[in-house]
């Protein structure tokens, strides 16, 4: 198969969206394309988008699942605002996604699925392939299903299995179009279907048929290449936020020399962390799938009490249920990491869509004065480092820490420059072994003057037997106390010790140092905000960007940073929760910019909003 017959065009970046029915294997297809692209050395950012229903009725709009991948020969920050290429496996996938396409975009459609019935299911009166409604796009009709079945005819696989391999045909075609290396996909298929050699053969053949189709058909006259990006030297792997977060927790356990104990209850979009951690028992990681969210955090707290690194992972509804136990952990002053992979709420909301609306809950969602540390990762790979940082704070300062991930970073992926274990911080802790009071008495609430942490005296330590609990404790002795002055002191101490946790200063990105407008974000909005700022600067509009990893306590220099700009804009995927914090804390009249659609900001949205602020104040 000579590839030289087609013209090869160079591109600097491409955004492809694979869209189909929930059962069409679009997530897997996108994942494989991403992996091939990573092998090539492009920078990548991905965004899956799928319904909460496992299999909504076939061919309907609610059943559409998609996966967007953005790859480039330079460093990119987002999965891309709008796709250059849409692969639509059925009319529903076309209808659900066509509005996102810019004029001139390529649409590859599986014509086999454009039956009268399927068109009717999604309300198409006539086929969009024939009624001229797609005129502004470049449509490539491909009989994906029947060509796949045809290609597999000689392999003797069941018709249903042959049809199911159509996603590999599509992947083969796209891999050809963008000159992707495909060896890793073939190896992947061998692994995935290791017990079904017939399916390995079928899927490989479907992939090959798709590739060959691209090469031979006249409909695709051009083949594209995207050169590798200039990235920092080192070894990379593509990683989702949930995977990175799980590995970060494993790493934290290794670097703390403590077994990790995860108590979790399955919840979208956090369950993948449980799945991943359950594989790492050889690191001493225990995972308990508890009977409910409350038991999950309870078990984690019990394990922390016993000297483990206790962790619980959940999403917003789960944090609500865990609230009382988190307050207990605050009173007990024990380490605990609570991971909240935020999703659109309230209540069940949109479990597979993203939002940042749990910030208030993380900061304030407990009874009594119950302060704790809150941090948020800014990208999929940053989840690794954020998990280590959460563990560091929890262990060093003996406090619960809430880590606010969200669906966007949790399921999105990007290349991750792999750290070496010796570059990671040493999180070693020492348990109390000796009495710390007079006459051999142990005082469980006698604090370390530097960290304000109380001793971690784990059961099994002779001579340090003591009782702790949720009732107010006397300073130092930990005995039950209803003394008014003691309560006042303890409440203020609990607040002060969290406020005193040293966190890194917030950094400012302001290339020309002449910006008058600062955009302040937190968590997963880093990518789109960064991309918008870059675009503005390229157009000669100065803008500064600061991004918060630590939400509690806030960086010590934040007030000074905010005060140095005429305007501070705070984009958030909520109704202004950080903006509220900043206003009340610093008395700065920030400009909130809010989106609660369940989707991440596009860079274009932020660019146009920020342009308006920069130009018009």
């Amino acid at each position: 198969m000579a590839a030289g017959a087609k013209r090869v065009e160079q591109l600097d970046r491409v955004v492809i969206r694979f869209a189909g029915d929930s059962g069409d294997g679009m997530q897997l297809t996108g994942d494989r394309f991403t992996s091939e692209t990573a092998q090539l050395g492009n920078d990548i950012s991905t965004l899956p988008n799928f319904p909460a229903e496992i299999r909504a009725p076939a061919g309907t709009l609610p059943g559409v699942s998609s996966f967007q991948v953005h790859f480039a020969d330079y460093d990119i920050l987002t999965p891309g605002d709008s796709p250059h290429v849409l692969v639509a496996m059925n009319p529903a996938a076309l209808k659900a996604n066509v509005a996102d396409l810019p004029p001139g975009a390529d649409i590859i459609v599986n014509t086999d699925e454009f039956t009268k019935r399927n068109l009717q299911k999604v309300g198409y009166a006539a086929s969009p392939l024939e009624d001229g409604s797609l005129e502004s796009f470049s449509v490539h009709p491909v009989a994906l299903t029947s060509m796949t079945v045809g290609a597999l005819a000689e392999l003797g696989v069941a018709k249903k299995d042959a049809e199911r391999a159509k996603n590999m045909f599509a992947l083969g075609l796209l891999s050809w179009m963008y000159s992707r290396p495909f060896e890793s996909t073939l190896r992947f298929l061998e692994r995935k279907f290791v017990k079904r050699p017939d399916l390995v053969a079928a899927n490989k053949a479907a992939f090959q048929a798709g590739w060959n189709f691209g090469e031979t058909t006249e409909d695709f006259s051009v083949r594209y290449e995207v050169k590798p990006a200039k990235m920092r030297p080192g070894t990379y792997r593509n990683i989702t936020g949930n995977q990175a977060l799980a590995l970060g927790l494993v790493a934290a356990g290794v670097r703390a020399k403590l077994p990790v104990f995860l108590g979790a209850y399955p919840i979208t979009p956090a369950s993948d962390i449980l799945h991943e951690l359950s594989k790492h028992k050889k690191f001493g990681v225990t995972t308990v799938q508890a009977e409910d969210e409350i038991a999950a955090v309870g078990a984690a707290l019990g394990a922390s009490y016993g000297g483990m690194l206790g962790v619980t992972t959940t999403s917003g509804p789960g944090v609500a249920l865990k609230s009382e136990t988190i307050s207990l952990a605050i009173a007990l002053e024990l380490p605990l990491v609570i991971v909240d992979v935020q999703r659109a709420g309230p209540s069940t909301g949109m479990p597979t869509k993203t939002e940042q609306a749990d910030l208030n809950m993380a900061l304030y969602g407990r009874h009594g004065e119950a302060p704790l540390a809150v941090i948020a990762p800014k990208s999929p790979s940053d989840c690794f480092h954020a998990a280590i940082e959460a563990a560091r704070i929890a262990l060093t300062y003996r406090t619960p820490v809430i880590l606010l991930s969200d669906n966007y970073v949790a399921n999105g992926s990007e290349p991750w420059l792999l750290p070496s274990s010796d570059e990671l911080p040493d999180l070693s802790v020492s348990f109390a072994t000796e009495p710390n009071g007079e006459n051999g008495r142990f005082l469980p609430y006698l604090r370390d003057p530097e960290t304000m942490a109380r001793p971690w005296a784990i059961p099994g330590t002779p001579g340090l037997e003591h009782r702790i609990g949720g009732l107010e404790k006397a300073d130092k002795t930990g005995d039950i106390s209803y003394d008014p002055a003691n309560h006042e002191f303890m409440v203020r101490t609990r607040a002060a010790r969290i406020e005193a946790i040293p966190v890194p200063d917030v950094e400012i990105e302001d290339n020309d140092e002449n910006a008058r407008v600062l955009v302040l974000g937190w968590g997963s909005t880093y990518g789109p905000i960064g991309a918008a700022c870059r675009a503005l600067r390229q157009r000669g509009l100065p803008i500064a960007q600061a991004h918060l990893r630590h939400l509690a306590p806030l960086p010590a220099n934040l007030g000074e940073v905010l005060g140095a700009y005429d305007k501070v804009v705070v984009p958030e995927m909520n109704l202004g929760q950080l903006a509220h914090v900043i206003r009340s804390r610093f008395l700065i009249d920030v400009v909130p910019f809010n989106q609660v659609s369940g989707l991440p900001f596009t860079a274009a949205t932020l660019e146009s909003m920020l342009e308006d602020v920069v130009k018009n104040g």
Partner: protein
């Protein structure tokens, strides 16, 4: 149970903490505490290896008074917290102290799941059939029609039979005892401590403020013998001041029945065996008594073996660790570098 490393000569006094005990004078909890402190030295387990975890309620103050490790946690959650501790620290002996409101109402879910998992916990449920700490509302074990502060017209709630519930939750050890019978209480604690896995012990406990005399029928020496059935392993189940009653398994019936010993009509008293694998037997025993306490068995109803959660969890960890090569840092580097990687020079 863990065995002692060195011979310990502990006494009841060693298990008394320096905290002033603050239950109401006359509360049944005092006698349970005293029995526990007297019994503990028998175990031969060093104090530092023993942990008491409780929830909320009068009974849940218990850990503060034991000179061991202890946590007074939050309402209903003690079994969950104890599950995390026990499964990660199999070297510890973990006791859960709870009450009828704590274990059966707000914490019902954790209780049944701890039992089904067979976590190595000794769960003591102090059942006084009332909410004491909140000053006298009915509890999930209060009798139907009970008049309390929150049910002036009588409770419309059917009560739980805690032992039936525990058996339904696959408990491997189920027992009942009474606060005022120190000897029996200690004997049941001993059996619970010896059991590997979840041991569920219901202790009838008198709340002399809000539900005084709730168990008088089986405590008062004038009535006790005709209503209390003492279960003894290997012994025919008979009771009454002159053994005038027998527990039999009537032909064709699912459950057990009480008969006049003098008129058994070919039936024979059931010989008690707590190790019977079929929980139907222990369940039938639990059904002999209801709210009225008319014929109330005490003792060990069920004591069977099943792998504990702690053992299963630890086994998985040990199996995985057997495959370990290299230092933790080296393993971590391997883990991070797993999968499809690429290198940029």
């Amino acid at each position: 149970m863990a065995s002692p490393v060195v011979e310990l000569k502990l006494t009841a006094k060693d298990f008394k903490s320096d905290q002033e005990v603050r239950w109401c004078p006359g509360c049944g909890d005092y006698s349970i505490l005293a029995a526990m402190q007297r019994f503990m030295p028998e175990l031969g387990i060093p104090r530092e290896k023993i942990v008491f975890i409780s929830g909320i309620g009068c009974s849940s103050r218990f850990p503060y008074y034991m000179n061991t490790y202890g946590m007074h946690s939050i309402h209903g959650r003690a079994p969950a917290i104890a599950t995390g501790l026990s499964s990660s620290r199999p070297d510890l002996t973990v006791w859960v102290v709870t009450g009828d409101g704590d274990a059966l109402s707000i914490g019902g879910n954790h209780l049944i799941h701890a039992l089904r998992r067979n976590v190595n916990l000794k769960i003591l449920l102090f059942n006084n059939r009332i909410y004491g700490l909140t000053k006298g509302q009915y509890s999930p074990t209060s009798e139907l029609g009970k008049i309390t502060k929150s049910t002036p017209a009588g409770s419309a709630d059917a009560p739980f039979n805690p032992l039936s519930l525990a058996l339904g939750a696959e408990a491997t050890f189920v027992a009942r005892t009474i606060d005022s019978d120190a000897k029996h209480l200690q004997s049941v604690l001993r059996r619970a401590a010896e059991h590997e896995g979840s041991a569920f012990v219901e202790i009838y406990q008198n709340c002399n403020i809000f539900n005084d005399g709730a168990f008088e029928l089986i405590k008062d020496s004038a009535t006790r013998d005709d209503h209390l059935i003492r279960l003894e392993q290997g012994q025919p189940i008979t009771f009454g001041s002159e053994s005038q009653f027998s527990v039999v398994h009537p032909a064709g019936a699912f459950g057990l029945a009480v008969r006049d010993s003098a008129a058994l009509d070919g039936e024979t008293p059931v010989v008690h065996d707590a190790t019977v694998d079929d929980p139907a037997y222990a369940f039938a025993l639990t059904r002999l008594s209801g709210s009225d306490l008319g014929t109330t068995p005490i003792g060990v109803f069920r004591d069977v073996k099943r792998p504990t959660y702690d053992q299963l969890i630890q086994k998985q960890l040990e199996d995985a660790k057997a495959q370990v090569t290299g230092t933790p840092d080296e393993m971590l580097d391997q883990l991070l570098n797993a999968g499809d990687t690429w290198t940029i020079m």
